[in-house]
């Protein structure tokens, strides 16, 4: 049976035209990153082959960020993980022990090669006149946001709104809480992930405004055309770090550490940064950033450190019984 299976596997590999590569990396990533890595993988493979005279294939797996982390914990043999929130990588450190702690210090910029931010996407002509976060809490405005319980995208939106309210004159935690609560009272559908929220807004035509990552806005433009919507940059938003890490246990077992580390390091190279900018991810490299400055309007940003870091924010706001749960329960009653 095993022999037959392996024969079949070889036959399939030949039939499908995949050359048998010397090195294979598996990149386990989140949902909306597929477009970036589709562009980045061939660029890196070319560089790697030229430098190390070794043929390289990168396999991709995509899904909700936290779900993907769970699969890695359960034994999906990822060489690298590329997530949208450091808590997902921390979960692998704690629960699966496949990644050594201190991963965020092993690469520059807290191991986050580029960033994105939450923007507001409105219908053509902006009929509801939405300009900033405070327009989202007005009565009669429908806001489409993915569920903060299941999606990093939704968590960033929640924290961005909270931070905005906090930064208003006389802002404090109590005011921020009622602001966020009013915002989520305007949400007609809570989808489980960012991609599903986009489909709700664009295809099912539900809601007046969609809050999502800046790079997802570019995706929508490519798929649905630029004519159907407008991107509104709020006065202040949250800096969404998109962290990456090598999965130590897997690369040491497979002997792919060198390739995996190169793969991530190259994300910071001018070429990697260029591909990121082309996919509307904000680059760290100053030269590349300057070159693409026109497509990235300057927005005042704050980071999750405002909330004491992801672990604390998660604990306080999103864990079971946390502030988000209390808000959702109160909204459901009204």
């Amino acid at each position: 049976m095993t022999r037959r299976a392996s024969l079949l596997a070889v036959a399939f590999a030949l039939l499908s035209g995949h050359a048998l590569a010397d090195t294979t990396l598996l990149n386990v990533s989140y949902d909306v990153m597929r477009d970036f890595y589709k562009d980045y993988n061939p660029v890196f493979a070319k560089y790697y082959e030229a430098k190390f005279k070794d043929k390289l294939t990168v396999q991709q797996s995509h899904g909700g960020s936290s779900k993907q982390a769970r699969s890695v914990i359960d034994g999906l043999e990822a060489d690298v993980v590329t997530m949208n929130q450091s808590t997902d990588i921390d979960a692998i450190v704690e629960k699966g022990k496949q990644i050594n702690s201190g991963w965020e210090k092993r690469l520059p910029d807290n191991a986050s090669p580029f960033s994105s931010l939450q923007v507001l996407i409105v219908r053509k002509g902006n009929p509801k006149g939405i300009k900033d976060w405070n327009d989202l809490v007005k009565p009669g405005v429908q806001v489409v946001v993915p569920n903060p319980k299941t999606s990093g995208n939704g968590r960033y939106t929640y924290l961005a709104a909270w931070g905005y309210a906090l930064k208003q004159p006389g802002g404090n935690d109590a005011k921020a809480r009622s602001f966020v609560s009013a915002l989520f009272a305007n949400v007609p559908v809570l989808d489980s992930g960012g991609r599903a929220a986009t489909t709700t807004f664009m295809q099912r035509n539900i809601g007046d405004v969609l809050v999502t990552f800046e790079n997802e806005a570019e995706m929508i433009a490519r798929e649905f055309g630029r004519g159907g919507f407008e991107v509104v940059y709020p006065s202040v938003s949250i800096d969404a770090d998109l962290p990456v890490a090598v999965v130590d246990k897997v690369v040491d077992k497979k002997g792919t550490r060198k390739a995996a580390e190169e793969y991530l390091k190259y994300l910071w190279s001018p070429e990697g940064q260029q591909v990121a900018a082309q996919n509307y991810l904000r680059p760290r490299d100053k030269t590349v950033a300057a070159k693409f400055a026109k497509q990235f309007p300057v927005v005042k940003l704050f980071t999750v450190d405002e909330f004491g870091g992801w672990t604390k924010a998660q604990n306080q706001h999103f864990d079971d019984g946390g502030i988000y749960d209390q808000i959702a329960a109160a909204n459901a009653k009204n």
Binding site: G17, H62, S71, E223
Partner: protein, 290 residues
């Protein structure tokens, strides 16, 4: 009114033609709305931008890999269930033993358990944090997030099809013919090949067709254990989902149309089997009369 008096089609219907027409129309409307339109829309959506794009979506390497994996999975899962189903049905229908009803319940378990749970069972057993995970990792055996896991999950969900099909059939047939064969000096093996198998062959084929359709179409359980590695561990249903999420609607529906086609072929095969079985039954009756 005159029509009903002239040609009373059926003695059991006494309703007015209006009622009859209305009921027929409602039934047809339902069939059109819930079966025909969705089926047509799958193909319409798939061919929306021409057959070249349709074909391109099917011969794309990731799609081909998904097709091959799906075929491989069915090729392993269906024969396994065939052997098991015949053995279980044989034991249950022809013999009496303790715990028989428990065994029947056990065979039915995959029907009553949600496919997601079925997948999670294997994560629990073979996952890195699961019961046998550490041992498997030590010996470098990959089950979950690889082909064996997908096959296992598929075997689990298709487990009852063959057995469930055969048990009532074999119970109805009783064991007189086998007993006669044994009395006439046939060995157990001969009895099985010459008496039992010919009697159940249509039911068996029917079960295999259903098991195959489910094996190729299974989504939930396979999704949990797949790991979603493109070109490696995606079956056709999983590939359809990925393509849909990428807004690649033509390719998604092209692959979906293959599954729909499989369903149609299954239906045709099923109708043929039923027809052939009925014909043979009639033949047998005629011979018995003669």
């Amino acid at each position: 009114m005159a029509g009903t008096q002239n040609a009373p089609r059926s003695i059991v219907t006494t309703e007015s033609p209006l009622v009859r027409w209305l009921l027929t129309a409602i039934a047809l409307l339902f069939v059109a709305l819930f079966l025909v339109i969705p089926l047509v829309s799958v193909f319409a959506e798939a061919f929306k931008q021409g057959w070249q794009l349709y074909l391109a979506a099917l011969i794309e390497p990731d799609a081909l890999a998904a097709i091959k994996l799906t075929l491989l999975t069915a090729l392993v899962a269906v024969p396994l269930n065939l052997v098991f189903g015949v053995a279980a049905a044989w034991a249950i229908a022809k013999f009496d033993f303790k715990g028989k009803s428990f065994l029947i319940t056990l065979i039915d378990l995959p029907f009553s358990v949600s496919p997601v749970v079925a997948g999670l069972i294997y994560v629990l057993l073979f996952g890195a944090q699961g019961w046998w995970g550490p041992w498997l990792a030590e010996h470098d055996i990959k089950i979950i997030f690889a082909v064996p896991g997908i096959v296992l999950a598929t075997v689990f969900v298709t487990f009852p099809f063959v057995a469930r099909e055969l048990i009532p059939l074999m119970e109805a047939q009783g064991s007189e013919e086998e007993q006669a064969a044994l009395v006439l000096g046939a060995s157990g093996w001969q009895t099985f090949w010459r008496v039992t198998l010919p009697n159940i062959k249509w039911g068996l084929l029917y079960g295999v067709i259903l098991a195959n359709a489910r094996a190729m179409g299974e989504f939930g359980a396979v999704s949990v254990v797949s790991g979603h590695i493109r070109g490696m561990t995606n079956t056709i249903p999983l590939h359809v989902e990925i393509l849909y999420n990428e807004y690649n609607f033509v390719a998604a529906f092209a692959c979906a149309s293959m599954l729909a086609l499989l369903a149609l072929v299954t239906l045709a095969a099923k109708s043929y089997v039923e027809w052939a079985a009925a014909r043979q039954a009639a033949e047998d009756r005629r011979q018995a009369v003669e």
